[in-house]
């Protein structure tokens, strides 16, 4: 390994150890690593945004004589008026424009992808069972999912007291939600352990060259 790489790897390893030291208790090494990361990230983002937005989307179009770019640029500058108490009302104009456009773009597509398609999917569980003459575990799975969806939805239905049959279904709904949370928790544990494993792989095999 060449010297620059060795130095970079050692710095990364020492910073990793500094972060790990927080597991014992808060200390200046951890604080240093934390502040360094926040500072470097902020600096990196500024440079990235400068070269991917300000230069190509503001400066270069104006240089090329596309003067209509001045309209979004002015709207963008007006956003900064929020920093001044006297002039902050001005920022409402670009915000109104921004929210209007975002809402117009987002609502139909989000509604379609996250509500309509999901509803279709739930109905399809039954229709495809008939259409494809599904058998065995597919039928069991589909029925279980359908019952689970209905039970979980009934748990969130507060217009009727959760007693009697409604209460029993709602209770089953809680069970379904718990299974969902359990799966999420399991995946989360795996994700967190993955981070630990990767850091130890780095410390052992890339830094210490142990094995």
């Amino acid at each position: 390994m060449d010297w620059p790489t060795t130095i970079a790897t050692t710095v990364a390893a020492l910073l990793t150890l500094a972060v790990f030291s927080f597991l014992y208790k808060d200390n200046p090494f951890y604080k240093f690593a934390e502040h360094l990361m926040v500072g470097v990230s902020a600096g990196y983002w500024v440079i990235i945004l400068w070269y991917t937005v300000v230069i190509p989307k503001m400066w270069q179009p104006l240089e090329a004589g596309k003067w209509y770019y001045i309209i979004p640029i002015i709207l963008g500058i007006l956003m900064w008026a929020r920093l001044n108490r006297k002039w902050q009302w001005v920022s409402r104009y670009p915000l109104a424009f921004y929210i209007g456009v975002s809402t117009g773009v987002a609502i139909p597509l989000e509604m379609k992808a996250k509500v309509i398609e999901q509803l279709n999917g739930s109905v399809d569980l039954v229709t495809t069972m008939y259409a494809t003459q599904a058998s065995g575990m597919t039928v069991v799975n589909n029925i279980l999912i359908l019952i689970g969806i209905i039970a979980a939805l009934i748990y969130f239905f507060f217009s009727k007291a959760h007693t009697g049959a409604t209460g029993s279904i709602a209770k089953f709904g809680i069970g379904v939600l718990m299974v969902g949370f359990g799966a999420s928790f399991g995946f989360t544990v795996m994700a967190r352990i993955s981070l630990l494993i990767e850091r130890l792989q780095f410390l052992l095999f890339e830094w210490l060259k142990w094995g």
Partner: protein, 282 residues
């Protein structure tokens, strides 16, 4: 203090130490565990495998170093498969820290491919890295019309029109699928705006924390495959025949999970013992 109370009051630092040691030791001990391949991972592999040489896919790399452990092996495995199959890859990053991850992944994948086959994959010919632009929703919609709208030049400042690979690629109609490897909400945007608006086939590789949120989209067919966390990465490494960091990590995962299960059991025994004691005192 009784044993049960001691178990409940165990200092969390002992848990960290036990986990750290377990991970460290199991990394050093040579053993392997089977990696069963899920249908959702195999779907992605089969999809790419059935493409013809010269077809193009869009690889959206939307993660940062904090999720590198789980997602980088997925990216490298997908790139390996694409390079071996001579499939063109359009790469974008819609997260601020994504460009560095994408550039690093491409460098590694190109170097590994050259070492394996002696063939040098060329930027602009075999793959294109368009770089980063903010506001994922608008960029995804823009690319659906034409890649040149949000990305007139690639990451290195070269005009996209001058890149040989991009001559026949105008928009999503010209790529066979979008493969989104993401540790951010960019995946939601790809589902709503990429697949939702343009109906382009979409598969995702996400972190373990995110994986369960996206299974409903797999069930409805909005995405044709999911790689979930390190397990998904290990599955893909196995499928492309290059077991790497993810496969090595899965054996360690198993040991770490066993340790966690033991601590959960200890914690629960302590909790119920304390509750029983409280009830008796009342």
């Amino acid at each position: 203090m009784k044993l049960a109370e001691k178990m409940f009051a165990i200092d969390r630092r002992w848990v960290y130490l036990a986990l750290g040691l377990a991970v460290l030791i199991s990394l050093k001990i040579p053993f392997s565990i089977p990696i069963p391949i899920s249908k959702e991972a195999r779907n992605i592999y089969n999809f790419i495998d059935t493409l013809k040489a010269g077809d193009a896919v869009h690889l959206a790399i939307d993660y940062d170093p904090s999720t590198l452990a789980e997602l980088h092996p997925m990216t490298l495995s997908i790139l390996k498969q694409c390079f071996e199959k001579k499939i063109k890859v359009v790469v974008t990053a819609l997260h601020q820290n994504g460009p560095a991850m994408a550039a690093a992944a491409l460098d590694t994948a190109v170097a590994r491919h050259a070492a394996r086959s002696g063939e040098q994959m060329k930027n602009g010919v075999d793959y294109v890295f368009l770089g980063y632009k903010p506001y994922p929703a608008l960029i995804i919609l823009g690319m659906g019309q034409n890649y040149r709208i949000p990305f007139p030049t690639d990451y290195y400042g070269v005009p996209v029109d001058s890149l040989p690979m991009m001559k026949h690629i105008q928009n999503y109609d010209d790529v066979k699928a979008i493969l989104n490897v993401s540790g951010t909400s960019a995946t939601d945007y790809w589902i709503s705006y990429g697949n939702g608006r343009y109906k382009v086939p979409l598969a995702i590789g996400v972190t373990g924390v995110m994986a369960t949120d996206y299974y409903p989209y797999w069930q409805t067919g909005q995405i044709f495959g999911i790689l979930g966390g390190l397990k998904g990465a290990a599955e893909y490494e196995t499928l492309v025949g290059t077991p790497g960091k993810a496969v090595q990590g899965m054996k360690v995962q198993m040991v770490a999970h066993l340790i966690i299960i033991v601590f959960i059991i200890i914690g629960n025994i302590g909790y119920f013992a304390q509750r029983k004691k409280r009830e008796q005192s009342v």
